[in-house]
């Protein structure tokens, strides 16, 4: 198997935690992994992305080539669109619906939605409302990961195990909340498709 994933968002939204969970799951499965991250200046509220590649064969490039990403997972709808040149023609976009507005010229959300409509496979999920309604404000990113799980080509139970491993040091309550969030995203994706 081989899955190329672009994780997109704004500095501080938690895309690196998503990458860590997928990476740990891939490691547990004995897969090859490359995960390029953005550190430094962009993390101050700028656009950030991570290229995550998992494969059963050795991987050379740390970066995903144009037009070849299988999945874009975005914490923010405009950030999903930013990477569309990297999406393969039959790739999937799993994106949060709430805009993160920290710039004066943020585009009209209807224009963003229309542009997303033009892509072949888009899953939208209102992770912020779901997180709020289910009292898991800090786990919105895990809801998104749950929604994306089936597009990753990985066993869902492996992702759950990875959440347990990665959050173990933070205590059972945090592990449980993140697991619930992951499950919630996994069940919601069909409804909102």
């Amino acid at each position: 198997m081989k899955t190329d994933i672009i994780l997109a968002g704004v500095g501080g939204q938690g895309i690196l935690s998503i990458a860590t969970i997928i990476g740990q799951a891939a490691l547990d499965q004995g897969l090859y992994i490359k995960q390029a991250e953005v550190h430094g200046m962009s993390q101050r509220g700028g656009d950030v992305q991570s290229n995550l590649r998992i494969s059963s064969n050795p991987i050379y490039s740390d970066l995903i080539a144009l037009g070849t990403a299988d999945v874009i997972i975005a914490m923010e709808p405009m950030e999903a669109l930013r990477y569309q040149p990297y999406l393969s023609k039959d790739g999937w976009v799993i994106t949060a619906t709430s805009p993160f507005v920290n710039i004066p010229n943020y585009p009209d959300i209807q224009a963003i939605n229309a542009a997303l409509d033009a892509l072949p496979h888009v899953v939208r999920i209102d992770i912020e409302s779901l997180a709020k309604a289910n009292k898991m404000p800090k786990a919105a990113n895990m809801i998104l990961l749950g929604a994306a799980a089936d597009a990753l080509g990985m066993d869902f139970e492996l992702l759950r195990q990875s959440v347990r491993t990665v959050f173990a040091a933070k205590g059972d309550a945090i592990v449980d909340m993140n697991l619930q969030a992951l499950d919630l995203g996994h069940t919601h994706k069909g409804l909102l498709q």
């Binding site: 991250e37 953005v38 509220g45 050379y60 970066l63 950030e79 930013r82 542009a115």
Partner: protein, 539 residues
């Protein structure tokens, strides 16, 4: 054991497993995570005597590491590429003294300037200093090369430069690490103690030795396990791929490259291999990240008739990092069909955090300077450089660490008034203090703002060398007490701050204003830690 590690972390783990006794570094993207990893490791191995405290700048780091090497122990110096400029004096001369314990200098280059002000290629420094250079292509090589580099350094009695780029520093992969780390070196005396005193008479002898040993360095490259020749019967084109460039080549040929390839990960260039490669091909493509370091050297190594493609002839872009896509174009392969970039998307530049103290500094400065249309504000390197962007647009320059103070002085010398410098606390101790002394000695009419957030903020909140010492430092350098002012940069204090800025602009001599409030990122982290500590009962 297998571990998922960033390139930076693989270097750190590799150094630890190679018997490292000390890391010396100043934070700088993309090199910061090396030292942070060693600090974290040290935290869980409290009994291990590994030096891991941050240094004041790259020069002090390089010199301290050389001192540790003098004493026979293995030392690592880490920095971003522009840090090489700061430590260049010590670095170049360390090749002349040579080393005792292994000494590895790690330079993390930033092609595409993700978080930097230029794209300089550190390999030129290695060639300039006449020492071996290693350039890993992946995370496993980052790890494996550290033990190799320390051994090579001790065998040749020379420092070794290891050069990585952002995409390797900040990309994770599974790395196989040893279960039996090497112990640290014992203390020992250098073999040639007189050679460490670079008086001209001895320096000439040492420099002659350094040039005489170059064929041995060549030989080391020729037999390096990290340089690899892949021969293919099909002649015509051949490729030289260096460091991470090798990955992009291989990525484009999943079923194998159909022409000869030389992978270069150790320098000086393996000249014989290159000549052999050129002899069986009509044209050579050089794939290297950064500047055309190999490509330029080929012009002197190969027959004039050899056609060389790379960054100089435009086959690859002259600037910016390599990508699988620009390498694909250079290889003449058909491009993949893609969705066009969305016209809806707008840029989202980084910005100062909401609630950041630097914001209040720029707010106050802009209010006052509205009355001084001839004012010029000289900025420096750090989060506060973002004050150059909207909404503040408050800076007229940002060049190098510490340049704010000395540029303001030079501009004042030329007649600019008011000349203001804005510099952060960590940048001030890194390279601002000496410039302040110049200004004090001439009582230059400049106003210096040391925006003190008690940390090295831009790189993620590392300790700042001068915390709690700034008033004492400024007084010691000779700033008059009545022109050394401390304020708390909060919106509520705006009247007081603007008043003080006005007063100090009116003073025709050196003033230092220190707005001091903790970085809100480290404040949040400290608050979380405190909360955790009170929740966890003491064992």
């Amino acid at each position: 054991m297998k571990k998922l590690l960033l390139g930076d972390q693989a270097i750190a783990q590799g150094a630890l497993d190679a018997g490292l006794s000390g890391v010396y570094a100043y934070p700088g993207t993309p090199s910061t995570e090396i030292t942070e990893y060693i600090q974290l490791w040290h935290h869980s191995h409290p009994g291990s005597p590994v030096h891991d405290r941050w240094c004041t700048n790259e020069k002090t780091a390089m010199e301290a590491a050389l001192g540790m090497s003098f004493a026979g122990k293995r030392a690592l110096v880490c920095m971003k590429h522009v840090g090489m400029n700061v430590c260049a004096d010590a670095f170049v001369n360390s090749a002349v003294t040579g080393v005792n314990g292994g000494l590895v200098v790690l330079a993390a280059d930033d092609p595409s300037m993700h978080s930097s002000q230029n794209e300089q290629d550190s390999r030129f420094y290695g060639k300039f200093a006449l020492i071996p250079i290693l350039e890993p292509s992946n995370q496993q090589e980052c790890y494996d090369m550290m033990a190799y580099a320390f051994d090579l350094s001790e065998r040749l009695r020379l420092p070794v430069l290891m050069r990585i780029v952002t995409r390797l520093a900040h990309s994770r992969a599974v790395v196989d690490i040893t279960d039996s780390p090497r112990p640290q070196n014992p203390l020992s005396d250098p073999a040639d103690p007189a050679g460490w005193v670079l008086l001209p008479v001895r320096a000439r002898r040492k420099y002659a030795q350094l040039t005489a040993v170059q064929p041995t360095l060549q030989e080391a490259s020729a037999y390096s396990p990290f340089n690899k020749v892949v021969t293919e019967p099909k002649a015509g084109k051949a490729v030289i791929a260096a460091g991470i460039g090798y990955n992009y080549l291989m990525e484009n040929y999943p079923d194998g490259v159909p022409f000869p390839v030389l992978k270069v990960s150790q320098y000086p260039l393996p000249v014989a291999s290159i000549r052999a490669l050129a002899a069986q091909s009509d044209e050579l493509l050089v794939i290297e990240d950064g500047q055309p370091f190999i490509e330029e050297q080929l012009l002197g190594l190969l027959p004039v008739a050899t056609v060389i493609h790379g960054r100089l002839d435009g086959t690859l872009p002259r600037t910016g990092e390599l990508t699988p896509d620009n390498v694909k174009v250079a290889l003449g392969l058909a491009s993949t069909q893609t969705f066009a970039p969305s016209a809806t998307v707008v840029g989202r530049p980084p910005a100062l955090c909401q609630g950041c103290g630097h914001r209040s500094v720029y707010e106050a400065l802009n209010r006052v300077l509205a009355d001084f249309p001839t004012s010029r504000v000289f900025g420096d390197i750090g989060c506060y450089t973002l004050g150059a962007l909207p909404p503040y647009q408050a800076l007229h320059s940002c060049v190098d660490m510490g340049a704010s103070i000395t540029m303001a002085k030079g501009a004042a010398d030329a007649g600019i008034f008011p000349a203001i410098a804005v510099i952060g606390d960590s940048t001030f101790t890194h390279s601002g203090m000496t410039g302040l002394l110049d200004a004090v000695n001439e009582n230059s009419p400049i106003t210096i703002i040391i925006s003190d957030n008690l940390t090295t903020g831009m790189t993620g909140g590392q300790d700042s060398a001068g915390t709690n010492k700034f008033e004492a430092i400024c007084r010691g350098i000779g700033v008059a007490d009545e022109h050394l002012r401390v304020v708390v940069p909060l919106p509520a204090n705006m009247d007081e701050i603007t008043h003080i800025i006005r007063e100090e602009i009116a003073y025709k001599g050196v003033s230092v204003i220190i707005p001091r409030r903790e970085c809100i990122q480290t404040l949040a982290r400290h608050t979380r830690q405190k909360k955790q500590n009170t929740q966890t009962p003491q064992q």
